[in-house]
Symmetry: D2
């Protein structure tokens, strides 16, 4: 993808590869990347396209080649049309970027099924790593960022081989079903020399063996679980209760949502992954344990839209009890997609700088950030901006 831009400086070709490439978030990411690069839409929602991050010299959207894996085959154009119907993409945009969307379509490859992950995991990794290598070669990419956007998996069972790269390798070669697909993708990304981002609460690269591999190869990892809605607001509000010394007594949250996400989370096992990921922030910010139930309900009617209602009971001076409530009505794919593009740009920067292992500095984007227990959105933002602005140590 080389947009109709004004700048004629030679750009290093870089790439973004999405796992779950035919889902709502990925389809919006592809359509929006092309649209914004082509000047058809403003960069609203793109954190890296407003000061201070505009000053950091991140690779422009136009310099990204786009591709991905998925286990389903619905064409991107069909997915995009459905998103238009549901109000998640603007009328006319998919048509306007149709040619380039077809080019992306040609770069989509079959993903790893659970069946494959269980029966021949080594072959799955090799196949995916091969797809990534082919993509790099076809486009002459200097750097490639892989982002996992596939449906949330149930929590992965732990296994001794998760602790050690060599043991993991032996297990996979021995056809042991020790990794879920998300972790196979992460391994393949590392083996193919790519950065890996987990935008879901699945295991992905969050296993010691994979982190060690990434460190050895100076490849950055980021994750996990994109912070796009209720948790975004939670981690924005909770610091105010903390700084004002107002004691939160209970924080009850409800999420109603449809789409593939709603469907996946109506499975209690998968919901467990999400609930664990959502529950970690309050105690860290407030400094004490709080009764904080989180309910997730699948409401098919809502489609890509997600409404969260939170009820916060708190105590002020002399024990007077008060309440706050909020509802957040967001379009999940429209909230997540620009962050995926931000992460592509920032992880490319990390690749350029040779930063390997878990990148705590990108916590701003995640519900359950790797390498840190800072959850306050403002503190995370400050840290991100500081990191991005720093000179590369030579």
């Amino acid at each position: 993808m080389s947009g109709p831009e004004q700048q004629d400086e030679v750009r290093t070709p870089v790439g973004l590869w999405l796992v779950g490439a035919r889902g709502s978030v990925a389809t919006t990411t592809f359509t929006g990347a092309i649209g914004v690069a082509g000047g058809l839409a403003p960069p609203t929602g793109l954190v890296t396209m407003q000061p201070p991050l505009t000053g950091v010299g991140l690779p422009p959207l136009e310099s990204f080649a786009l591709g991905g894996h998925d286990v389903v085959e619905t064409p991107l154009a069909v997915r995009a049309a459905r998103l238009v119907d549901g109000g998640a993409l603007p009328v006319g945009l998919p048509e306007a970027v149709g040619d380039r969307l077809s080019e992306v379509e040609a770069e989509l490859r079959p993903g790893i099924t659970w069946q494959e992950a269980r029966t021949d995991p080594r072959r799955a990794v090799d196949r995916v790593a091969g797809d990534l290598a082919g993509f790099r070669e076809r486009h002459g990419l200097e750097h490639l960022v892989v982002v996992n956007l596939a449906s949330t998996e149930p929590p992965a069972a732990s296994h001794p081989s998760h602790l050690d790269p060599e043991a993991l390798n032996r297990a996979l070669s021995g056809r042991l079903a020790v990794l879920p697909p998300s972790s196979l993708y992460a391994l393949a990304a590392i083996e193919a020399g790519c950065a890996f981002v987990d935008f879901t609460p699945s295991a992905g690269a969050r296993l010691p063996a994979l982190v060690q591999l990434a460190e050895r190869n100076s490849l950055p990892l980021a994750g996990s679980d994109g912070k796009t809605g209720e948790t975004l607001i939670k981690t924005t509000l909770a610091p105010a209760f903390r700084s004002r010394a107002l004691r939160v007594r209970s924080w009850s949250a409800t999420n109603i949502l449809g789409g593939a996400d709603g469907e996946a989370l109506s499975d209690p096992e998968r919901a467990r992954s999400k609930l664990q990921s959502k529950g970690r922030c309050l105690e860290e910010i407030l400094g004490y344990a709080v009764e904080s139930p989180v309910a997730i309900e699948n409401v098919r009617d809502l489609g890509e839209w997600k409404t969260a209602w939170d009820h916060i009971a708190f105590e002020g001076f002399l024990g007077v009890r008060m309440r706050m409530q909020f509802t957040w009505e967001g379009c999940d794919s429209a909230l997540a997609a620009p962050l995926v593009l931000d992460l592509a740009r920032l992880m490319t920067l990390a690749l350029e700088r040779g930063e390997g292992g878990e990148l705590a500095e990108l916590a701003f984007f995640f519900k359950d950030p790797v390498g840190t227990d800072v959850h306050s959105l403002e503190r995370q933002y400050a840290r991100l901006c500081e990191w991005a602005a720093q000179e590369i140590a030579v």
Copy 2:
């Protein structure tokens, strides 16, 4: 007030003097100060009684002598009983601290009426300054902090004498009605060597002549308009929209409230002061102008309770429109009173350090902070903690 404390270190006696001393906030401040100092209630809501500010060496609540001015004569005990009825003070507390509350009652003096402000302003200032001096002497106070909690005044008409201390002095001596009561109190506080805090949107010390006087005398000023409810949340949430590059299209706010505050603000002139004060924060945080109407309705039934409803329409990636709403149901006096005590402690620190003029570092407490246009609550908190922790320059 010298509470039944364990610490037997000698404490420097300091004082807190409240203008509007018989109002809800002041009554709660007095009752709560005695109650918390005496171990009858936890320090919930007191910003300075949690880390990191506990480490700064602020004067303990027990070391504060308490007094004040008011234009009405309702006994504190009667006001406290009404607050208990309305759920704004805990059952039993006013009785438990009754003896000490009587001591405070004995330190209350008649306030400045509008009539007096118009006919003999100089005498009003002298009288108030005399009351402050007498209070200092009776209690041997090293430092005294005056906080204005009186009803919001209409916006003050500007006058040339506001620009220069000497001109102001001449105008007052010439019996010109150039200052509202809040500013007369501020002048008296400065003349009596006290710190002055404006917790309301009234003019108070926000006139160049008064700021110059405070600077000359190395007396600190803080204000204005305590940030206790809707604006607290606004300045907490708006930075998240900014950092996530989500474009706020409109932010509509409604406040329903009763009590003396509701009554005062049902006067359109007085409401104007408040609305100006509330409207300044969004544009500063977001970086662009936003349609942001604010409605205030007097609902007598609500008493001290205040409910705010905010409706935020915003735009995400590719122009997708989303919404957030919140309601905040707070007890105004319970939210404000601990901040008054925090300000008393912090302004005493400023007096000890000899810091004169407007203290921008205390912006955390105010809707319309002096000396700064930083409105983000988190940024204000960081600045406050940094300031409080710094060593006194010798």
Copy 3:
């Protein structure tokens, strides 16, 4: 308009004439009437197209000729396109009904301006009555219903001539400015033998002289102020508080809205008409006076959308205080338009039956119903269904 229907029974031609014919509600009414008649959209929102009212034998939508007055000249097609942009009309529908919309466009005539109402009211009435007569003739209409949808007027000043048809006639002939445009339309409608409905809170036909005229001529009147949002819910909920003996202490309402309606109501005079109309229902339903402020804020960003937030403080057994809150986010034109079509059908029935004067039985549709003080939605619905079902007295 004679849709592509299956029924080949001969239909009596009837007509619907809208004042404010180029506004959002009228444009939606025209577009929707054609769309539903043509089978392009389901009859959602049409009260008369579901049981029990389907059994009453009302004239089908297809039998209505459509026309109207307006003081502006924006073409219907342009207005419809804007409504599509704002999400108030479905993509594609205006184009699909374009031919028939052009026919309606050809039946629109210049409306009465305030200028004309003040300088030559008699001529304005004659002109409008002439337009109505011409429309009837061109289409061979047996019955014609006029509905006022024009912007809310300020409350009309009362005048002795309002009490008596003859005095009113003399005043108008004498060029006295005693009637606002809405009442001139009502008079013209009566003089032209039409039914008249006031869907706004303007004076319209609510003057004794006009009511007498309508009675004399056996012409039905209905109104006023369509109940489409916050009041709809108020009159649904309040009966539950009444029947459960829960004492409402305060009912605070806020409406934020954009569009022409928002603009008009940002004028305090016009808002007064609306607020009077909205305030009448609670006391009637509950049986006692309640503190019930209503705020209306113009938020241009919201366009045709209107969000109401109501906060209800009530008391239960033994004085325990509780709260209910609701938000209603509706598209005003989409809520009002089907009711206009229902009223057209029902008023045609009244014309067929020869019922003259104010029709209290249609209170279901109005915030401030004529001829009754029943506001409970359910009771109004029961009464409507009963009335519609009754045999015509011979």
Copy 4:
């Protein structure tokens, strides 16, 4: 209980017996009955103490002797004190009615445990029936009403003996565990000649065998599951969507609550009883199936308070999608207790009239009414008033 009333007419002594007599609702019912009868509190929340039901000649609260069963032994005074702490009873009231509350305390008897229900159900029934008979005798009661307020039971397994009184009798005598405690109480009430009301979703008298017994003995039954909160509002609002032909697409409900009720419903089995009971109303009112998930979360912090949040997505004219949301913040015991008293009065009337079997006319009080599928609150209220007013057929 024979209050200090003015009327000196001879009153027929009647009785109210509560199962779960030491719970929050029962404690509030006892305290409130005595308080209202004694003029210490207004009759807010009592449906039968406002017109038109005041005109029906129901037995006054003063004429009711009070007693009950419970499996726990916490004294009423202790429970009442806790309710005062939680804001569910007014400060001072339990003390003011202390003497009479002690009299009630003396009339409480040990309830049926699950253990007893499983091992010797016949003896449990006989014991309870004996307690009821003793109570009647001691107070010379003409009529006695039993109301079940005990914790919600899991759904009861069906058994052939539920269909026939004689088979049921044999099963119980044979020590078969075929009935849950709620049904044993119902059977005992019938055997003792009492009316029985199920205010919970437990099985209670809703078994054909028990209904037949009640019919044979001309004893009235009412239930089940008191409609006090979210469902109250649901059945108030849904008729408006129906009458206005607005198509509800999804109605998502969340309830957060603490107390014994929250605790009980955090058991998925018991929650199942409640959810079944709550889900029945929407389809009946709207006339079509609607996606309507209901979540219940136990939040201990909320105590007796219950907050419901409902999100209603609906469609108007031409398919335009809109939303309504509400939150209901109620004190469960304060909402339920007056209805228990209303039911005591109304069931006494039914006993006087000799009406046996399920009383559909009392549907107004219940989420899942016996003998009818009318759920609209207004229609239920109309039916109740009509029934109460009717003359007794001779």
